[in-house]
Each structure stands twice: as C-alpha cells, then as structure tokens.
C-alpha cells in the first residue's frame, strides 16, 4: 500500500489536514522514529521498513538519536540562555525520554509547552505520558501542520502571544511537499508571534545522503511507508529563517549544533535555531 492509495482527508487541498488513518500494515513516521530510538511502540510493518532502510543507510539510526539529542540541546539553550518559557512543539511524536516539557521544565519549572500532532494515536500517547509538573503546563492540539490557523488559534489560548514563544519543528517539515509550501507555513506561524520568538528545526538534508543511498531509502519509503520524505538543501533550510537572525553556528548537521559530545558518525539532518528580531534591528551572523 502506498500513500497515494491511503484514504486521507482533504487530499490535495492546501491548508487542510492530511491526517493519516490508523493503519498498522504500513510504516508510520512516528512509529518509525520510536523504533529507531529503541522504543516499543511500533508494529511489524514499521520495523520491517526501518530494518530495510538501515541496510541501505545505516547512519539513519545514528541520525534519529542525534535528532533527539539536538532537541535536548536546543530546548535547553532556549530555556536557559534565551529565557524562553513558552514552547510550541509541532510534530510531537510518540513520547520517549527527554521530551520538550521535561527539558524545559528542568531549567524553568514554570515553562508551558503546547504539543501538536496530527496522528490520533500519537496524541493519545502524548496526553497519557506528557504530563506537566505542577508549576508549568502542557497541552495538546490535534492539528496538521498545514492547518496553521487551528494551531495558532488553539495555542493562543494556552500561550501568551505577547511574550516570546519558541516553535520547534523537528523532523516534520520534510514530510510536507513543495505543493503545500512549507516555507509559507513556517512564515505564517512566525508572523503570529512577537519579536524575540524562536524557531528551531531539523530537516532531512538533500545533500547529506549520497545518491545511491537516497534512492534506496526513497524506494523503501515509497513502498512501505505512510508518509513520504523530501530532502531539502542547505539553502532551502536557510530560507525558513528569512527575516530572522540565525543563532550560532547557523545551519549545520544536527550533531554539529553546539555539541556536548563527540559525534561517532555523520547524520543526514540539517538543523538550525533562529530568532525573530525586534522591529528594524537585524543582527548579522
């Protein structure tokens, strides 16, 4: 079964939900990631796809772990150094160790985190496992990244949009095809947030897997997975931060962003963190 055949709501209509049906016979993005991280919330089809992919590109296991480590470092930076107390985590995935609110609340117990996902099973897990401490808060929004109106509307009730918010979009933009204009989606989110807000993202890099591996990977995904993945170039990643100031070290591989350990390999993900400047004041990296 390919994604093309899967019944999806609002297929083709930009800005609408393309929620995946709950189907354990095809590999699912959130469950693939769970399995790569050593979790048990995955099914036979997920494991088969991952095992096939790892034979072609073994660095994808490392890539998933480094993405998780990047989440930790980026959220810690945002809470501890940038003083952010409000987070909008879009593409939450199945909870594992070191989730956004845990990292943020370790630095600032009063931190508020809104989790957004379009996968109903992921949301059920998130509601069960991503419980806030007493001082802070966590909430969950059932929405597709393409539906920025719903996300902003609901997040605005939980977060104070007159104060800075950090938006995290980790390993999610690469399932949004160009036809849904991912750059415009990100711009719409950031436009609604005040100066001093941040964007952190990670994204499959078009140049980071050699051609043969990329083709093999795409072949498995096309045949066995619910979501399709689009690698984008460093330049395209950079464009997500148009009008923002990139935080050092700019667009780099996930393991290279303010590392706290020696990387054992090279991942296939670009990442960056950027800040929305005060009106008229642009810092240059």
């Amino acid at each position: 079964m390919t994604t093309d055949e899967a019944p999806t709501a609002g297929e083709g209509a930009a800005g609408q939900s393309k929620r995946p049906p709950f189907d354990t016979s095809v590999a699912n993005q959130a469950r693939i990631y769970d399995y790569l991280l050593g979790g048990k919330d995955n099914y036979e089809a997920d494991r088969a796809a991952v095992d096939a992919v790892l034979k072609i590109a073994p660095e994808l296991g490392f890539t998933a772990r480094e993405n998780r480590a990047f989440l930790g470092r980026a959220v810690r930076y945002l809470a501890a150094e940038a003083g952010i107390r409000q987070f909008l985590d879009i593409g939450t995935g199945i909870p594992t160790a070191g989730n956004t609110h845990q990292v943020a609340q370790e630095v600032a117990p009063e931190a508020r985190v809104v989790y957004v996902d379009y996968d109903p099973v992921v949301l059920a897990h998130a509601r069960a496992l991503l419980k806030s401490n007493k001082a802070g808060a966590t909430q969950y929004i059932d929405a597709d990244l393409r539906d920025t109106g719903t996300i902003l509307d609901q997040a605005g009730r939980l977060l104070d949009f007159t104060k800075p918010v950090a938006v995290t979009l980790l390993m999610i933009l690469h399932v949004i095809p160009d036809s849904d204009d991912p750059h415009a989606l990100v711009a719409r989110l950031m436009d609604a947030l005040p100066p001093g807000s941040y964007l952190a993202l990670s994204h499959l890099g078009a140049e980071l897997l050699d051609r043969e591996k990329a083709e093999g990977f795409q072949g498995v995904v096309r045949r066995q997975a619910q979501q399709q993945y689009i690698g984008r170039t460093r330049e395209e990643i950079d464009r997500f931060f148009d009008g923002m100031d990139l935080i050092e070290p700019g667009v780099v591989r996930v393991e290279e962003w303010r590392p706290d350990h020696e990387a054992e390999a090279k991942s296939a993900l670009w990442c960056a963190v950027g800040r929305k400047p005060q009106e008229g004041s642009h810092e240059v990296l």
Partner: protein, 299 residues
C-alpha cells in the same frame, strides 16, 4: 539499534540493589541469561538440552516465568563462557534471592494460579495498559468496591472475601512505589454505570478514580456509549510492558475459570493495535475526569 553486549562489569549492575519483588528480580536475571546466550551465539535448543530441558524451558526461564535452579544457572553460565568466579557467585546469590517468597505467598490459599503469576508480571512491568468492560481496574478499586466485586465473582465466604480485599489493597501499594509503573486504563462507560455494591460505594469509587487520575503515572480514559461500537470486541484485557529491551510484552486475559497469557508477537500486536485505537477514540484524560464527575452526580 544498540546491541547490549554482555559486559561483565555492567552485567549485574543495578540488580543487586533492585529492591523489588523476587518476581521482578527473576525476570531481570532471565533477561541477562538471554543476553549471555545470544552473545555466545547459542540457540535456545542447545541451551535447553544442556539443562536437560527443551527450547520452551529456556524461554520460560529467560522470560522470568519459572524459578531459577542453581544447578541450571551454573551449567548455563559455563555454556555461555562466563568463567569469572566472582561474577558467577554474584549471579548465584541473586538467583537465591529471586527464589525468596513473594509478598503474595501468604495469600497462597485463595490465589488462583494464573493470578499469582500476573502479580509477578504486574510488579515487574514498566507500563500497564488495560481495557475494562465491566469492572474498575484492580489497582484502582476502593476496598468497598473490591468487596462487592469479589463477593460477586469469587463466590467466597465472608472471611475469604476479607482476605481478597486486603490482597487488593496490598497490591495497590505498587502505585506509591518510588519508581511506579505507568498504569493506563481505558474503561467502557458500562464500568461506571453498572453499580457494584450500591450507589454509595460507586460514588466513593468515582471520587477515588478522580483522585488517582491526578497521579503523574496514571492515565484514565472512558469510552462513552455515545461513541458507538468499538474495536475491543474481545472484552477486558491487560498488556504488560517491561523496561528491558528484550523482554516481550505480555497480554493477560482473565477468564472465568483460568487466565490466559499471550506472548507471541502477532497476537500481542493485535491487542496493542486495539488498545492504541480505543485510546485514541476514548475521551481524553481531562474529559474523562469531567465525565466521571457527571456520572457521579447522576448516581
């Protein structure tokens, strides 16, 4: 995927001070034996024949289902090439401890065999997910509710019922353990609507549910009648998951006369699929609390 190789330094670390029940220790030791066997490249059949048994004996032993015998463990450690005397003797000390009595031993006279092994699994689990069609999950029952349900189900005499109730309360200490499992229970609305022990007992039970739902490691969800028929045509079941990567999930099915344990992956995954599906269809935990409050007002 990291493979967990048997590093003799690390092998038993954490096990010695694991305060838990004998049953928990048994599962952890079994899991270590599996790693040692796999690292030595020995099949379950070979290992089984070395200890005068079969493949399934090894599987029961590695999954912590049976008590370990010193003689078997000694032979297996030799077969797996564990020669370090200090390590071997540490392993055997832990084996002895894992054969110590479990807290429920004193209830041996009333416990059906199937339930006894469930208590061991429950104590060892990191996550307990259940779907309940008729009764509140045992870990969340009040004493009065448990009394009413036991009187109904066990056809027991008054003094025996009292022992069942105290067993249930002892079992619930799991929830206040320093490192408690995450207990995630989805209940059919029928559980709330069918009064066990009368309205007063039910109202107290509702208050208790609302209270435990506040615990960080407890998730309660109700699937209301209004959401129509659901995927769990099977009736109540519990899925137990363990921290160790190589311990398989177990599905526990309590039946009128016996209990069934499913461990084979395709079967287990079918239940996981159903429990994932109902959890995503049921009321959210926040909505559930409001719903229970509403039912309480109507009771």
């Amino acid at each position: 995927m990291d493979s967990v190789g048997p590093d003799s330094e690390q092998l038993l670390s954490g096990l010695e001070d694991s305060a838990g029940d004998a049953a928990v220790l048994r599962m952890r030791l079994g899991s270590q034996l599996r790693r040692l066997r796999e690292a030595a490249g020995i099949t379950p059949e070979e290992a089984g024949s070395r200890i005068r048994g079969s493949r399934s004996k090894i599987s029961r032993l590695e999954n912590g289902r049976v008590k370990l015998k010193n003689r078997d463990v000694t032979d297996l450690l030799t077969l797996y090439g564990v020669t370090d005397e200090a390590l071997r003797s540490k392993f055997l000390t832990l084996v002895t401890r894992s054969n110590g009595p479990d807290w429920w031993a004193e209830y041996g006279d009333i416990l059906p065999a199937g339930f006894e092994s469930y208590l061991g699994l429950e104590a060892a689990a990191a996550t307990i997910r259940s779907f309940e069609v008729q009764f509140v999950h045992g870990l969340f029952q009040t004493a009065d509710y448990a009394r009413a349900v036991t009187a109904l189900m066990r056809r027991a005499a008054a003094d025996e019922i009292q022992r069942w109730v105290s067993l249930y309360l002892r079992r619930q200490e799991l929830l206040s353990r320093p490192d408690p499992p995450h207990v995630w229970s989805v209940m059919d609305e029928a559980v709330l609507r069918r009064p066990a022990g009368g309205a007063a007992v039910m109202r107290a039970q509702f208050r208790h549910l609302i209270e435990v739902a506040e615990l960080p490691h407890v998730t309660l969800q109700v699937i209301p009648f209004a959401s129509g028929a659901h995927a769990a045509g099977s009736g109540s079941f519990t899925v137990l998951r363990f921290e160790e990567r190589d311990l398989p999930d177990v599905v526990y099915l309590e039946q009128l006369t016996n209990a069934v344990y499913l461990e084979q992956r395709p079967y287990v995954e079918r239940y996981l699929e159903v429990v994932d599906e109902i959890s995503s269809e049921a009321l959210t935990p926040d909505e559930t609390t409001l719903f229970i409050e509403q039912v309480a007002r109507e009771t």
